[in-house]
Symmetry: C2
DNA sequence: CTGGATCCAATTGGATACTG
DNA sequence: CAGTATCCAATTGGATCCAG
């Protein structure tokens, strides 16, 4: 369960707030592009344009949008070098690295089950 | 990286197919509702209506849609009891349980970082 | 109760143009 | 190069109705 259930407590309100926050964070993070960006970053430091080519198929818009989100949540750090042309680098923060571990696990899971799933789909009828 | 990179191999085509399959599976699974349903199921067996109340805020449509997807990929098993009214139960399969482990980790990560993230957001300016 | 189908509003996301 | 803004098509998702 993402949101632990609390009730009858003295500061029930605070706890409900934490719950809704948890759900909000989960919703931010549990999306395809965010996870792919995190996986692409890994423990490296990449420029915007590098990320764009590392994350296959992502559009300019989706990349900036998700990078802002990761930055806002403190999962990725943005460093702008005041050069011309501009050079902006992104890297995962501590919490971001923690999430990376689970994304790695998810990718590993995916690869371990490609064959199973492929067959399951055929059995399902496609 | 979700899709391992291969090239120059004799059966390059097969490998590219596995890659695109991996990406497809990842896209199916890396979405809010799918992960919340998996987390709600855990190692239990739940009816459609039970799932609907366990997964806070999910609509009838999103639930059926995601359950079909999980079933199609062989991550959840559907058992229809031929009673009236119908009783349909869902449970995670072996691969589904494997994925559950990573979702659990992700939920744990979320709870561990609620405070960090809450503060990061404030620093970011909201 | 489960679940498919449809309608329709709201959101998403890509393409493009423009700025520092 | 990095990033924002806009336009617009396509997709999403909720509400509702119907059926087994």
């Amino acid at each position: 369960m993402v949101t632990k259930q609390f009730s009858g407590s003295a500061d029930e309100a605070d706890l409900r707030r934490a719950d809704s926050l948890a759900r909000e964070i989960f919703s931010d993070v549990a999306n395809k592009w965010a996870l792919l960006i995190i996986e692409a970053l890994g423990d490296r430091t990449l420029r915007f344009s590098e990320l764009r080519s590392e994350v296959e198929g992502i559009s300019h818009k989706m990349l900036t949008q998700n990078l802002r989100m990761l930055e806002r949540n403190g999962l990725a750090a943005r460093t702008a070098h005041p050069t011309v042309p501009p050079r902006v680098e992104y890297t995962l923060t501590g919490p971001g690295r923690g999430l990376l571990a689970t994304v790695d696990a998810m990718c590993e899971w995916t690869h371990r089950h490609i064959a199973d799933i492929d067959e399951a789909r055929r059995r399902f009828g496609d």
